[in-house]
């Protein structure tokens, strides 16, 4: 049998592996966003982070609003329910409050390909034609994010390519993991398989640990082999208020409430005080949400 993977708490993960200034890719695509990680990053008042995230969502909005982020690469940042504006992100980018992160943008197709190149050990991947789009023309931090090569075949057409992205560390939400670190995901995977593979170091945040035989009954669901995983945090409901296939639905009310609460700086600070600093850890956050809310969102009886 292979080696067991180390377990740590979310607090230890942030304390040990996410120091100020750390570059990290955070997994999730408006589902499976590890919000419990973001909360803990805020609790520990990290600053200067270099964050990569395909779908920004409320996770990035929160980190930016709390002043944790110095650099940010993304495909979009939004609150997908409503849609509510991503107020904190807008305040930061439009008005520099609390700070104006240095940003870089890629389309989702191009970021998928850049991460795929990183995962596959290749220097680049061909991608969506984007020449003369905004992504092509605006480069602030990554002058080489996109390039063009001439095809060696046919009539020598121009081909847009996305440069390999290889984040220093990646932290990903998965539904379940075994003691060896094999991580499994239900539902759509968006760019997840490639994003994981692209990262130099890989940490999983899992809803639960299951017996390894449970994982081995469905080896097709494994999105990352345990041998590539450095550590695991087990944190039920870690993706709330985003959704987790087979475990719980997106919490629409919390998305809306977050949007309403964070429309002002004061409201944002109140939210952090009440929901993050005031809850100590993720079980505390869940206690504040309340068992009835969780029960209404839970799906475990349905897809299991």
């Amino acid at each position: 049998m292979p080696r067991r993977v180390p377990r740590m708490s979310m607090r230890e993960l942030v304390a040990d592996l996410v120091p100020d200034g750390q570059q990290l890719l955070i997994g999730g695509f408006a589902f499976g966003d590890p919000m419990a990680l973001a909360h803990e990053i805020v609790r520990q008042r990290r600053t200067g982070l270099d964050v990569l995230k395909t779908s920004g969502g409320v996770l990035v909005d929160l980190l930016v609003g709390a002043g944790c982020v110095a650099e940010l690469a993304f495909c979009h940042v939004w609150n997908s329910v409503g849609p509510e504006p991503a107020h904190a992100f807008r305040r930061a980018v439009e008005g520099g409050h609390p700070n104006r992160p240095a940003i870089e943008e890629l389309s989702f197709g191009a970021m998928t390909m850049g991460l795929a190149a990183g995962a596959l050990g290749l220097p680049f991947m061909p991608t969506t034609p984007v020449t003369l789009s905004g992504h092509d023309l605006v480069r602030r931090r990554w002058p080489d994010k996109l390039g063009t090569v001439t095809s060696p075949f046919g009539d020598g057409e121009l081909v847009s390519v996305a440069r390999a992205i290889t984040p220093r560390i990646g932290i990903f939400h998965v539904q379940r993991v075994d003691e060896f670190g094999n991580g499994q995901v239900f539902g759509p995977t968006a760019e997840l398989r490639y994003a994981i593979g692209a990262c130099e170091r890989i940490v999983l945040v899992a809803e639960e640990v299951v017996a390894t035989e449970v994982v081995r009954e469905r080896p097709e669901l494994t999105v990352v082999p345990g041998f590539a995983v450095e550590a695991v945090v087990v944190e039920p409901w870690a993706a709330h208020p985003t959704d987790s296939s087979g475990y719980y639905r997106r919490d629409l009310d919390h998305h809306i409430d977050y949007g309403a609460a964070t429309a002002t700086v004061e409201g944002f600070e109140d939210y952090v005080r009440d929901w993050i600093d005031g809850t100590d850890d993720h079980p505390g956050f869940l206690a504040r949400l309340g068992g009835d809310r969780l029960a209404a969102l839970a799906l475990r009886d349905r897809w299991w």
Binding site: F29, A30, F31, S55, G56, F74, C75, H76, V77, W78, S80, V81, G82, P83, E84, A86, R90, V93, E94, E105, L106, S107, F108, G109, A110, T112, A116, T128, P129, V130, T131, L132, S133, G134, H135, L137, V138, R140, T148, E157, L158, V159, S160, F186, G187, P188, T189, A190, E191, L192, R193, Y194, S244, S245, R249, R250, L252, D253, H255, I256
Partner: protein, 264 residues
Amino acid sequence: MSTVHPFEWFLINAAREFRDGEVTFVGFHWPMVAARIARHLHAPDLVVVYECGIVEDRLTPQLSTSPSDLRAAVGAPMCGGSMDALYSWLGRGRVARTFLEAPIVDRRGNVNTTVVGDYDRPTVRLPGSGGGTELGSLGRGLVLLSTGDRARAYPERVDYVTSPGHLSGPGERERLGYPAGRGPEVLLTPLGRLTFDSREGFVPAALRPGVSWQEARACFRWLREEPGELSELPEPTAEEVAATRHVLREAREMRYRLPADLPA
């Protein structure tokens, strides 16, 4: 039936753009709502694909709030990934029709969902592209949906090309390596249905009854003289209105932000 709200008109006509049985790439927001309306009406066999890799080929129990709201995956026949959706299905041409919301769109169908004003000091920061860039770049049969009824939603040229339309003019896409036969074809707005003309850009093919050429021109400022004959969009049927109101009730339950003056 009661008076049809312009927003209902818009959604009904958006729904009419869907074709039964077609593989259709549906982007965030009103395209999702319109697809659901179409599924209740003339397109029960619609096959919808989303950027995260979901295939949605029948009526889901609940309306999703976004393509990544996994309510869209309930009962899905396939859950793949973004490489499947954006490349194997969209880029490879297995998708027949594509719907993209275009809150700010210019004469040549370039869509801006990124910034208004200067990129580094924007007047308004919008969400960014997600897969919207791919829909503009690669989507076959691309229909743009905009709820805008003012000129500011339709500039001559957008500040930032998030989703490439026909860029600066005819032939530019092809010259730059964009695949042939793609790019926006239809722009549907509350004022009417516009189609793309490679010389003139988007021009009205039919207006909503009661909308004058002057009103259209005040919105789409690149328009020139009034054409000799101008079609009107057909009146909504009772079934269309009923389906639309049904789906709008679902949207309200699912916390969609709806026009304030929409009847409840």
